[in-house]
């Protein structure tokens, strides 16, 4: 590692921890920071800006050690991958080389043999780029929020909430709490990006979820807000449940959750990470089912081998077993203790512990282990454990489905718009919801082709459903929310069809223009006091900055540009996706249908975005009152809009005169072997994920994608203009003509209702049943037992009184009566006594002689 690179983990670590510091300070001292906690805003903004500076510094360090080469993307015709320029040609070089990355383990939280739950960093070009993007967008949004949230500085009257006596709710402002949550979110999000093992990913995954929960529920007095917050977290938990299953499968399969290889202080390999297990260099980076999964799938065979190995032991050996065993037990125990001690001491002791473990396993099962090792390659070739790899991939993707609001877990994101608009921009558009896409890209090497196909299908379905719902939405933020869902679907789709770079590229460009769009909508809401577009119109005259920056955002999301020449950022990223989609279609004609949907989605996107813009800013005001009160937002809000608008335009371009561009930076992180056309589907025959470079190198894909997308988008824009701009046609007419479809769309495909009746209500009924069982069955039994015991006791009592007592009483009475009678014998007559005595003696003698005869 070059010297300057040593600073990289530290720089990013600082950038990561600064928002945490800000969070802790605001928790304890927030209300003390100036009037209404104004200082909290400055503190949080300062922290995230410092993080941004540190991220830029990290990027500089990274670039100084890993200079960029010309991107292969965009213009295939210019590209020439001659044999001479092999190492400068990413298309060829990256297929065989592991991307430059740093894997650092900071400290171990828990250790169980080789499995270490640790705080570890995985740093590559993607990490650095994500850091820059997240901190930059977050900085803009922090600045914007200091303006947007200023009402929270003093007491707030919330007109949407009625107290018990029917008046509007008055409550203290929560300015510092807002920034406190925002800081916590930034910390969590950066932690998620920096995470070097899946356990840490999962931890921060949940943490960003809870931040999202807290911020959606920021206006927690509103029932809709608290419901939306719950919905967001619980729906995400459904995804996380899948992710947990994926983690289980990954852990038991790989024997580790670390992404990179763990080495000791001397640089010796201790434990191979997930990436190098699933795509080992020995196998030329082909997808390889890890040993653990093969073994797990072959459990029965291994079990039999172990039994056989012991059965074949010679007879003499059996006798010596006890002694041998005792000796080895001692050794194992000490090895065991050693591993425990090593865990306690320091990480550099680890190899010994691992070695001791392996050693003991070898000693124990020498014969069986040798057999198993022999059979492993054969089992692998028979597809043993492949389904476990697919489950691991699908499980982890489930988490991404939840977080990135993909079908079928997309329902939470539109409701999440209950949160303040800057939150929607930061969390529910630019960063957190993109984390799902980020994670798919990060774990790309371990996805089998079948999993990628599922990802592509889910993405495609999502982008279509969400886009159609956006057509009929009238809440400006909900239009943007559905558009976000749809764009995230695009990214997933891109990743699924092999467009690793295309998906990520779109993630970045989308982050800028969608944050811009949301902040613009926030500015509009701030000015109008409503989200409803049917009450807006003509606002461009009142708030030109907002209107035209938003127009830039709309153009960017539609992928506007002069085809094949130049365009806004969205043009490049969307183009890359569609070109890859065409390439996928060429390789898998059977699955070509989903590509058509993707093109269709581009047209719908253009339509609803311009519908939104035109309804808001163009035409005549629909509500005079609102129009009169509307005003342009203050500088702290407009400033970030301009910055983001510039980024939305240029983020797809290379820095003039250099090779530096977002694409070439991301290209550095392309995982080796993944989506390089190396892997064939096993469960889905003939499935090939085409190499992304093919779509760049083949101008046909590129040109046709660019031209088709341009045409479709133009059609969408024109259609929007026909309905809402010019207006030549009344939307009501169309609505009536296609009433069933309209009703489907306006009811959001009835997803919420379906989930309620299919999932929520049955769960609640089940819970009622459990409570009922407790009271009516288990307690009935327990109480019944108690009552039965009491009953037995009563019977016992009655028995005592009626039978035992009576018997004893009778016996006593009888004895008494007998005594009374006997008294008569006592006459005092000595002669009578003597007679009885004599008779008794005779009788006794007779008896004795009779018996002793």
């Amino acid at each position: 590692m070059a010297d300057s690179l040593r600073w990289l983990p530290l720089l990013l670590e600082l950038a990561w921890l600064l928002p945490l510091g800000s969070f802790v300070l605001i928790v304890f001292f927030g209300p003390l920071m100036g009037k209404g906690g104004r200082g909290a805003g400055w503190l949080a903004t300062a922290a995230i800006m410092c993080s941004f500076v540190l991220s830029i510094a990290a990027a500089t360090v990274w670039l100084s050690e890993h200079p960029l080469v010309h991107s292969s993307a965009r213009d295939g015709s210019e590209h020439d991958c001659g044999a001479s320029a092999d190492e400068h040609c990413p298309a060829v070089a990256h297929k065989r080389a592991v991307p430059a990355a740093i894997f650092v383990e900071r400290y171990v939280l828990a250790q169980f043999d080789q499995l270490r739950l640790s705080v570890a960093y995985w740093i590559d070009a993607l990490t650095v780029a994500m850091f820059c993007m997240v901190t930059l967008v977050a900085s803009c949004i922090h600045v914007y929020s200091t303006g947007y949230m200023h009402e929270e500085l003093h007491e707030v009257t919330d007109q949407q909430v009625r107290t018990a006596d029917g008046t509007a709710l008055r409550r203290p402002g929560r300015y510092c709490r807002f920034f406190q949550y925002l800081s916590l979110f930034c910390f969590s999000m950066l932690g998620l990006v920096l995470a070097g093992n899946l356990a840490m990913v999962f931890a921060f995954w949940e943490l960003v979820g809870i931040c999202s929960y807290l911020l959606i529920g920021f206006y927690f007095e509103r029932r809709s807000a608290s419901l939306a917050a719950n919905k967001a977290f619980i729906v995400n938990r459904v995804g996380d449940f899948g992710m947990l299953v994926g983690l289980m499968a990954a852990w038991s399969g790989f024997g580790t959750l670390a992404l990179g290889d763990t080495t000791d202080a001397q640089g010796r390999l201790v434990q191979r990470g997930i990436f190098s297990q699933v795509r080992p260099a020995e196998a030329d980076y082909r997808l390889t089912v890890p040993d653990g999964m093969v073994r797990m799938a072959a459990a029965e065979e291994i079990s039999a081998m172990v039994a056989n190995a012991h059965a074949r032991r010679p007879a003499g050996e059996q006798g010596q077993f006890v002694e041998q065993h005792k000796a080895t037990v001692d050794q194992w125990q000490s090895a065991e203790q050693q591993s425990a001690a090593a865990a306690r001491w320091q990480s550099s002791e680890q190899p010994k512990a691992a070695a001791a473990q392996r050693w003991s396993v070898e000693r124990r099962q020498p014969a069986a282990e040798a057999q198993v090792a022999d059979r492993l390659p054969w089992w692998r070739s028979q597809g043993y454990g492949y389904w476990l790899l697919v489950i691991a991939g699908l499980g982890l993707f489930c988490g991404c489905v939840g977080k990135s609001a993909q079908f079928p877990l997309m329902v939470w994101l539109p409701d999440a718009m209950e949160g303040p608009t800057p939150v929607s921009a930061l969390i529910h558009a630019a960063t957190m919801v993109a984390a799902g896409v980020y994670l798919v890209a990060r774990l790309y090497p371990m996805f089998a082709p079948e999993v990628l196909l599922v990802i592509a299908c889910i993405g495609c379905l999502t982008l279509f459903i969400a886009a159609t719902i956006a057509i009929t939405a009238t809440d400006i933020k909900r239009v943007l929310a559905y558009s976000t869902v749809s764009q995230l679907g695009y990214m997933m789709f891109a990743l699924g069809v092999g467009g690793w770079l295309a998906g990520l590229f779109h993630l970045f460009t989308h982050a800028f223009f969608k944050a811009l769009l949301f902040l613009c909508s926030g500015s509009v809401i701030h000015a109008c006091g409503t989200n409803d577009m049917t009450q807006m119109g003509g606002l461009r005259r009142k708030m030109p900055w907002t209107a035209y920056t938003m127009l830039v955002g709309c153009l960017a999301i539609c992928g506007a540009g002069v085809p094949l020449v130049v365009g806004l950022s969205g043009y490049y990223s969307k183009d890359a996706i569609l070109a890859q989609a065409l390439s996928f279609r060429a390789a898998n004609p059977a699955w070509g249908g989903i590509v058509v949907v993707a093109f269709l989605g581009a047209g719908i996107t253009a339509f609803y975005m311009f519908r939104m813009w035109l309804m808001t800013f163009a035409g005549q005001p629909r509500d005079k009152h609102i129009y009169q009160h509307a005003h342009e937002s203050p500088l702290v809000m407009v400033g970030p809009l301009v910055v983001l608008a510039i980024l939305a335009v240029v983020s797809g371009w290379p820095v003039p005169g250099t090779a530096l561009s977002l694409e070439s930076l991301l290209e550095q992180a392309r995982p080796a072997g993944a989506a390089a056309g190396l892997d064939q589907g096993v469960l889905v025959a003939g499935l090939v994920i085409p190499d992304e470079h093919l779509s760049h190198e083949n101008p046909v894909f590129h040109t046709s994608a660019a031209l088709t997308a341009f045409a479709v988008s133009l059609l969408g824009v024109l259609l929007a203009a026909v309905f809402y701009g010019l207006p030549w046609l009344d939307p009501q007419v169309i609505r009536r003509a296609f009433a069933p479809i309209y009703s489907l769309l306006v009811n959001k495909w009835w997803l919420d209702e379906i989930y309620h009746y299919m999932l929520v209500a049955p769960t609640l009924r089940l819970s009622q049943l459990a409570a009922w069982l407790d009271r009516r069955a288990i307690d009935w039994l327990a109480d019944g037992l108690a009552r039965a015991t009491a009953l037995v006791a009563q019977l016992d009592d009655r028995f005592d009184r009626l039978v035992v007592d009576r018997a004893i009483d009778h016996a006593a009475d009888w004895t008494y009566a007998f005594g009374l009678r006997l008294r008569r014998v006592q006459t005092g007559n000595i002669r009578q006594y003597l007679m009885v005595l004599a008779a008794g003696t005779v009788a006794l003698f007779l008896l004795v002689s009779w018996f002793w005869r």
């Binding site: 939280l109 828990a110 169980f112 043999d113 499995l115 739950l117 909430v161 009625r162 018990a164 931890a203 921060f204 809870i210 927690f220 608290s226 719950n230 977290f233 619980i234 938990r237 459904v238 449940f241 947990l244 299953v245 983690l247 289980m248 499968a249 852990w251 073994r295 029965e300 291994i302 172990v306 012991h310 077993f321 006890v322 065993h325 001692d330 050794q331 194992w332 125990q333 000490s334 065991e336 203790q337 050693q338 591993s339 001690a341 865990a343 306690r344 050693w359 396993v361 099962q365 198993v372 769960t763 609640l764 819970s767 009622q768 049943l769 459990a770 409570a771 407790d774 288990i778 327990a782």
Partner: protein, 577 residues
């Protein structure tokens, strides 16, 4: 030196009982002094356990290669040695020599975390008892007796002594619920008493079965030494000149016998099943009543609803852990054959409890009942973590997953001790003010009591298993470990995270969020007092510390847990030869 250890260990166990005696003779009427004395006692006991916890000299290794370990003598006797998997601070004095019953105490990585949890929660619960105003003297006396019983259970190494402490703790609890409880206190107290008593009786039967099957003379000299039996064995002969078995209550020796190749507990007893099998079943039922696991859990909601707040804290925080501790200390080491055979049952009951408890919690209207059911759900993780016998032939006796499961189970016990005690306290705080617990009649508490609500939400999040808080670690380890045992079971277990999120977030929404408070006595919603903060804040702080740095706790646990698991794995391996 030895005397110090005897004094220290006895102090921890018996100081509360002695103080209870002293309190008995104090005049009535000076209630604050009585409370203060009781408080001081719990503080002293806690301080003593903390003193032990401060790590002493660790085990030194002579060289890298495996071999006999040179254990250095700890410079301060009494301090806990990290990394030593064996019993420490062993106190062994004869008590009833005729039956070989001993005053035999010790701590290791399994029991010590629970001991310190007990002393810590007792201290906080005593502080929470400040609002008790009826029969203060009797309350404090019973409370202190209860503490002795609890600590004794976790420290006893003689099975008989363990049983005695187990029963000692029962009576004070009965009276504490039955006298200071809510409206249905008699029903709840009797129910608690009877359920626990049934468990106790089953344990007694198993105890006697094991005792009369045990034979110390089957153990080698070294094995006996490992069980701290250092005097030579006196073996008497029967009339026909066969050596008479030497019975023992020594739990370590019982474990040693249970795991030896020709175990005396393998003798068939009834219906083809061995002594060990029956002992396991009896003990298992006895312990899962305490845990509690479905379907033997119904005493818990009633007991919790009626018990006063501090007693609920103790009940959830400590008493439930005795079930898990008993399984870990007695069932598994002593009866491995039955445990191996019935691992599926243990895991299934665990998962059933997790799911059923979470579902039942969702249906509750009473705040305390909800928290009680969440305990059932959370303690299910403990059973599952213990049960995952994944070191089998198919994994070539790899112990990693099982170590993780058992560590997770133990961690979960501590984490649940913190979070459930915290939740019950938080319910108590609000109950003290408005005197009801109807979940539909709260709302808007965030406005009226912001600090209280913040602390509560933090503690509830810990119970929800949020990363960075203690609840996450145990659940994560257990669920991950379960996969290697049985995939379907693990998937069902993992799905509980959804239900947990459901009922906890719904509770938070109903109680803390919303525009205004809906129930009666709204004017009495005063901000949280300093005393209450002093009880809640340490719980939340520890929940955060253990969540962010679980190693702080795992360092104490793992050596012993690993050792236990390793021994059991070796036992399994022997089974397959």
């Amino acid at each position: 030196m030895l005397q110090n250890v005897v004094a220290l260990m006895s102090l921890i166990v018996f100081l509360p009982a002695v103080a209870a005696l002293v309190l008995c003779v104090l005049p009535r009427g000076r209630e604050n002094i009585i409370k203060l004395v009781a408080m001081m006692v719990t503080v002293v006991v806690f301080a003593a356990t903390v003193w032990i916890a401060i790590p002493a000299h660790t085990v030194q290794r002579s060289s890298e290669e495996p071999g006999p370990v040179a254990v250095s003598v700890s410079p301060t006797p009494g301090r806990f040695e990290l990394g030593n998997p064996h019993m420490q601070n062993v106190v062994r004095l004869p008590w009833i020599p005729a039956f070989g019953i001993e005053y035999f105490l010790g701590i290791d990585g399994i029991s010590f975390p629970l001991v310190i949890l007990t002393s810590f929660l007792s201290m906080l619960a005593m502080a929470a008892s400040w609002t008790i105003d009826r029969h203060v003297k009797a309350y404090c006396v019973l409370f202190l007796l209860l503490e002795t019983g609890m600590l004794g259970v976790f420290m006893a190494l003689d099975f008989f002594l363990f049983y005695v402490f187990w029963e000692v703790m029962l009576l004070p609890m009965y009276f504490l619920i039955g006298i200071w409880g809510g409206p249905r206190r008699e029903y709840a107290a009797v129910k608690f008493f009877l359920f626990t008593l049934v468990g106790g009786v089953l344990m007694l039967i198993a105890l006697l079965m094991l005792y009369f099957s045990s034979d110390l003379s089957k153990l080698s000299q070294q094995q006996r030494a490992a069980c701290h039996i250092d005097q030579p064995l006196v073996v008497s002969l029967t009339a026909d000149r066969t050596p008479q078995p030497v019975h023992t209550f020594n739990m370590l020796a019982l474990a040693e016998m249970g795991q030896m190749p020709d175990s005396p507990f393998d003798r068939p007893l009834l219906w083809d099943k061995s002594v060990g099998w029956w002992a396991f079943v009896l003990l298992f039922i006895g312990f899962i009543i305490k845990l509690p696991a479905v379907p033997l859990h119904t005493w818990l909601p009633d007991a919790h609803v009626e018990a006063p707040t501090p007693i609920s804290m103790i009940l959830a925080g400590v008493l439930l852990k005795m079930g898990g501790y008993g399984l870990m200390r007695i069932c598994y080491p002593v009866c491995p054959a039955a445990a191996y055979e019935l691992a599926w049952l243990v895991c299934a009951v665990g998962v059933l409890s997790m799911v059923y408890g979470a579902l039942a919690a969702m249906a509750q209207k009473d705040f305390k009942r909800l928290v009680a059911y969440s305990s059932v759900s959370h303690m299910g993780y403990v059973l599952l973590g213990l049960g995952v016998w994944s070191a089998t032939a198919a994994t070539q006796f790899n112990t990693t997953a099982w170590k993780m499961g058992m560590s997770g189970a133990l961690f979960q016990m501590i984490a649940h001790g913190l979070s459930s005690a915290g939740m019950f306290f938080m319910v108590g705080v609000i109950y003290d003010r408005v005197h009801h617990r109807d979940l539909d009649q709260f709302g808007g508490l965030f406005h009226k009591m912001p600090v209280y609500s913040g602390l509560s939400v933090g503690i509830f999040f810990a119970a929800l298993g949020l990363p960075g808080l203690c609840g996450f670690v145990g659940e994560f380890l257990v669920v991950l470990a379960a996969w290697n045992y049985h995939k379907a079971l693990a998937v069902v277990a993992a799905s509980v995270v959804i239900l947990t999120a459901g009922y906890i977030l719904w509770t938070i929404q109903r109680v803390y969020l919303g525009p205004h408070y809906k129930g009666p006595h709204g004017e009495q919603l005063t901000p949280i007092t300093a005393r209450e903060v002093a009880i809640a804040a340490p719980l939340l702080a520890l929940a955060i510390i253990f969540g962010v740095y679980p190693k702080a706790l795992l360092d104490y646990m793992t050596p012993t847990v690993n050792h236990t698991v390793q021994r059991l794995a070796e036992w399994t391996e022997r089974l397959h030869r």
